[in-house]
Amino acid sequence: MSVLLEINNLKTILHTSKLPVCAVDGLSFKLNRGETFALLGESGCGKSMTALSIMRLLPDAGEILSGSISLNGADLLQLPESAMRQIRGKQISMIFQEPMLSLNPVMTIAEQIAEVLVQHFRLNKPAAQKRILQLLDQVGIPDAKRRMHEYPFQFSGGMKQRAMIAMALAGEPELLIADEPTTALDVTIQAQVLDLMREIQRQNHMAILLITHDLGVVSEMAQHVAVMYAGEIVELSPRENFFSHPAHPYAQQLFASLPDKQKRNQKLAVISGTVPPLTQAFNGCRFSDRCHYAMPRCHDTAPQWHHTSPAHKVRCHLYDPSSALINITRIPEVAPVPAIPAAQQQKAEPLLQVSSLKVHFPIHQGFLKRIVGQVKAVDGVSLRIVAGKTLALVGESGCGKTTVGKSILQLIQPTAGSVRYNQQELVGMERQRLRPLRSQLQFVFQDPYSSLNPRMRVIEIIQEGMSALNAAIEFTAGASATSTATAFPHEAAVDVLLQYVGLPKEAKWRYPHEFSGGQRQRIAIARALAVNPRLLICDEPTSALDVSVQAQILNLLKSLQNNLGLAYLFITHNISVVEYLADEIAVMYLGRIVEQGLTDEVISKPGHPYTQALLSAVPQIGRASAADMIKLKGDIPSPASPPTGCHFHPRCPMAMPVCRQTYPEASTISTTHITHCHLYSQEHRSNHHEH
């Protein structure tokens, strides 16, 4: 295989603060023709800066200090800008993380692709139109002839990413840089897009530089893996070696911090601390402060490359053959993690009982704003949560799971149905009467960046709920508030809470922007805990966070449940988190729950075809190809006009005539496991018997 791209000792700095930030520091790797090379790392490691350096599209504050980037033997860094424009799009093209932001909203898809064609091939109009159609067909856009003249807003998220890929392919590039291409997409759509990329790579014999933080995606896509940490590559290996024997302690700890079913009753391994600021000059190993194996020399000498096998090299002192002191055998084992005792099994009355909850949003149209239809965001959802247990609500974006969470708290007024907390009906309760109950139910939001008021200090944020619900707290906790009659009557309580979520006491005097994402999420959890809730509704609390930080938050949630007996309604799309944390699962599709049961039952024996597809679409480590994957066609339909009959039938591989006509009733698989699917209904079974 010939080398397509070779990067040598690349060093890129950003002049964004007083000291230059060394975003990429001495990076070298080779990328062969037709192969997929994955650059793996947490946010802030310099992955995207590497990609932008290759394209020479760095922001104004960025500067490439030294090194070389050669494509087919020609050094890109020596080229004048005009020659570089011939390379971008033609030889190297790029797809970005946010398909919503990377397409121009006022140009049709065809016009945007035509731009590339005109720039690089000087095609005339009919020829260009033909080529565009061909490209859109290649990326699997249905009815491409009509849809090519539509605007980006008429495309769904997955379709937009397909259009982006078509645009990237228009120049017939030799190298495609994909910067987190599927992070913003749902699992089933992610599976489609990854599949498409593999397919196109096979056809066009194109190399892909895949930038991602998702080990599962790497495992499914890449031939070679480079682990990036704090601006440099710390491990370089073929995929098989990497996944069977990750060598660098950072890579090992990343694996250990992935939640899954086997780790259910243990704490997840966490990588303490955060990526060090890249403004400093490093003396020793960059990971030494967070490493379990750190030795004295790690702090003062930077490790060199050491080979563990011919193709697998790692930048770590542990593998230095000259130092005989180290016992290599203990390396593959990650530091032991204490087991968490399983929460006491108890049978109790449901803490929260939601029955046939409906939330419909009217669609207004026209001059008089007449109601022309309803968006049925939630359409008859029933749930029950027992004290101290976790119910996971799983589904893709747009299926209404967040709306369920918010309407339980009456943040969104439900259209119909009932929400009973401790036998008290919440729907339709007056604002004043609802207030004492507010302390029982709390919400943790998805995005820790927008859920904390940037102009309030941490102490004010945490205190807000306490002061608003003061009466309620004293009622439940017995009047023990340490009111010192100062400006901060709850200061002592805030200290305890911060300690509880693992933040120093001094943190309370700071503003939220001074904290990292994980720390902010801790503050948000502390805020919710401040009023002594019995039930926490967590809306994707870890989806905005890195894997290692996610592990910290999951550990925290688990220990809080064990110690305080909290119940969680855990809203998520991440199946591995569900397996780790949840006792029960409810799978949601287009405003309705399609399957519900104990975690083990649903994960091991999924009944509904949607659940099956969802589970198989999750990229898994160690699964080489997606041969056994159930591929879903198309996107989630709009909740404004759901399909007749079973909502899932247009995408269902097992759809039957009856599915088009009636919505299936609940069928019981076991006492705790129900699903809404005609496959399991009585008539269907009896029909089968007759045949």
Binding site: K267, V270, S272, G273, T274, P276, P277, P338, L409, L411, L434, R435, R438, L441, Q442, F443, F445, Q446, S450, S451, L452, N453, P454, R455, M456, E460, I461, E464, G465, M466, A468, A477, S480, H490, A493, V496, L497, Q499, Y500, G502, L503, P504, E506, A507, R510, H513, E514, S516, Q519, A528, V531, N532, Q552, N555, L556, K558, S559, L560, N563, L564
Partner: protein, 499 residues
């Protein structure tokens, strides 16, 4: 008593504003976390230079706000003191020579002769057309042709010397104070100022102060014997007119905003926050108000006001009071017509903010609407308010000029930039052109608006908590935490009892 104090309506409002500002400063001084961002304002060189200039404008404005009526020499039949009907301000008192040295008509800056030729009757009965000597400007010179240049030069030199002397005194006082506070040697303090190692950019402040003091020095030396910026049609000193205009500009700029802000804040935020029919009502109100041509509305109101004042002359003891009521009325009507744009901006921003998750979190805690508005939404729209206020300040100062030009601005007897420009506009067409009235009005307005803009820019930058502290504190935040994170999850104390 040699005088009786007079408090006009606008004076009272200015005093209220000063009081509120002082109360705010006193409150902020007591709260370290509120003080911190204002300290950052103090670190901006351009902001502090602009503030230094602004302070001089404000001092002039405040001196002009202390009004009184001087006692006349004769008493009335009951033996009581009679006070003059002319309302003077402390500034007038300080500028007495400028105020009282009124020439016949136009004279150019620093001139010794009138700007136009006049016909003299000579003793022998014949007539002669020549440039007449000014009554006051350069009247101390026996022979202007020979002495003029040297006299001007000595005065300028003296003025520079005087300015520098004051500057050195201030500089020394500052450094002595600094030395006393930091317990350092005096020379070390001087060094640190000029090597720019002090936190507050004293060098920038001192340079600005130096320039201002030298200019004041020169003006004070020249102004006693010349008309530095010339005289206008009726021979009034233009420098005096410009200084008197500052108060009107400041009042129009600040009081109008003060009147407008409650409308804009309250209506804008409630419209965006509550939505529904409240939003509809407020939107229709400001859309309707916006579609009335504001000049017509202002003209109509001012004319109504004028008629009212004229038919109720008995309410107003002095001319100044009448002019003042008209000024206040202008402020109010400008405020009422100009709140709509800010209101629209605030409504849009609130619509965005109310969907933010921290607002929803507050709802989940059952925080009351009023508290959400005051604690969450208001602080997050303050930057818009600040920017809009300053933009409006400049806009309003200019609007006053335009309105006075049209004839519906301040009372003609009141000196303002607008009346100055209005008076000067016809003279632009004159040959030779009378340029100085317009130029000085323009120059003063320019410096005032520019320094207000620069200062607001610095304030806006400093008040945004996301801007600066991040780089300083994030490093320490990260250092603090690694140790606590693993320990935390394993050993939590029961939280219920501690609350």
């Amino acid at each position: 008593m040699p005088f009786t104090p007079v408090i006009l309506w606008t004076d009272a409002l200015v005093f209220l504003l000063v009081f509120l500002t002082s109360a705010f400063i006193w409150y902020v001084r007591g709260n370290e976390h509120l003080l911190a961002p204002w300290r950052r304002v103090g670190h901006s060189a351009s902001g502090m230079s602009a503030l230094t200039v602004l302070v001089f404008f404000i001092i002039v404005g405040l001196l002009d706000t202390l009004h009184f009526r001087p006692a006349l020499e004769h008493r009335n039949i009951h033996g009581e003191t009679i006070y003059s009907v002319e309302v003077l301000s402390v500034l007038d008192l300080l500028l007495t020579p400028l105020r009282s040295n009124v020439e016949k008509t136009y004279s150019a800056p620093l001139a010794t002769h009138l700007y136009a030729k006049e016909t003299f009757s000579l003793p022998d009965g014949s007539q002669n057309r020549a440039f007449a000597r000014l009554e006051y400007g350069g009247s101390h010179l026996a022979d202007p042709d020979t002495e003029y240049q040297s006299d001007i030069n000595t005065r300028i030199a003296k003025g520079i010397g005087l300015g520098l002397l004051f500057w050195i005194i201030l500089h020394t006082l500052l450094c002595l104070n600094m030395a006393r506070r930091t317990h350092q040697r005096f020379t070390l303090c001087v060094q640190s100022v000029w090597r720019r190692t002090t936190e507050i950019p004293w060098h920038a402040i001192l340079i600005t102060l130096g320039v201002i003091l030298v200019v004041i020095g020169i003006l004070s030396m020249l102004a006693t014997h010349y008309h530095v910026l010339g005289t206008d049609k009726v021979g009034q000193d233009v420098l005096y007119l410009s200084l008197k205009s500052i108060r009107v500009a400041l009042i129009i700029g600040t009081l109008t905003t003060l009147i407008m802000l409650p409308f804009a804040l309250l209506l804008g935020i409630t419209a965006g926050y509550f939505r529904g029919w409240i939003d509809d009502v407020i939107q229709y109100t400001y859309t309707t108000l916006n579609s009335i041509p504001s000049v017509l509305l202002i003209a109509a109101t001012i004319l109504m006001m004028q008629v009212y004042i004229e038919t109720h002359a008995e309410y107003f003891e002095t001319l100044a009071e009448r002019a003042d009521v008209r000024l206040l009325c202008l402020c109010i009507i400008l405020g009422i017509t100009s709140w709509t744009s800010l209101c629209r901006l605030l409504r849009g921003e609130t619509l965005k903010l109310r969907e933010m998750e921290y607002i929803q979190a507050a709802h989940a805690f059952g925080v009351s609407h009023w508290r959400i508005i005051s604690r969450h939404i208001l602080p997050n729209v303050m930057h818009i308010v600040l920017i809009a206020t300053v933009m409006d300040f400049s806009g309003l100062v200019l609007a006053e000029a335009v309105l006075s030009y049209v004839g519906v601005g301040v009372d003609p007897s009141m000196i303002s930039f607008g009346t100055m420009i209005n008076a000067a506009r016809l003279e632009m067409a004159r040959e030779p052109m009378v340029w100085w009235t317009l130029l000085s009005a323009f120059g003063f307005m320019f410096i005032l608006v520019l320094s207000a803009n620069l200062f607001a820019d610095a304030v806006q930058k400093a008040l945004d908590p996301r801007v600066k502290t991040f780089t300083q504190n994030s490093a320490s935040a990260q250092k603090n935490n690694p140790a606590q994170i693993p320990a935390s999850a394993s050993a939590p104390a029961p939280v219920n009892k501690s609350i």
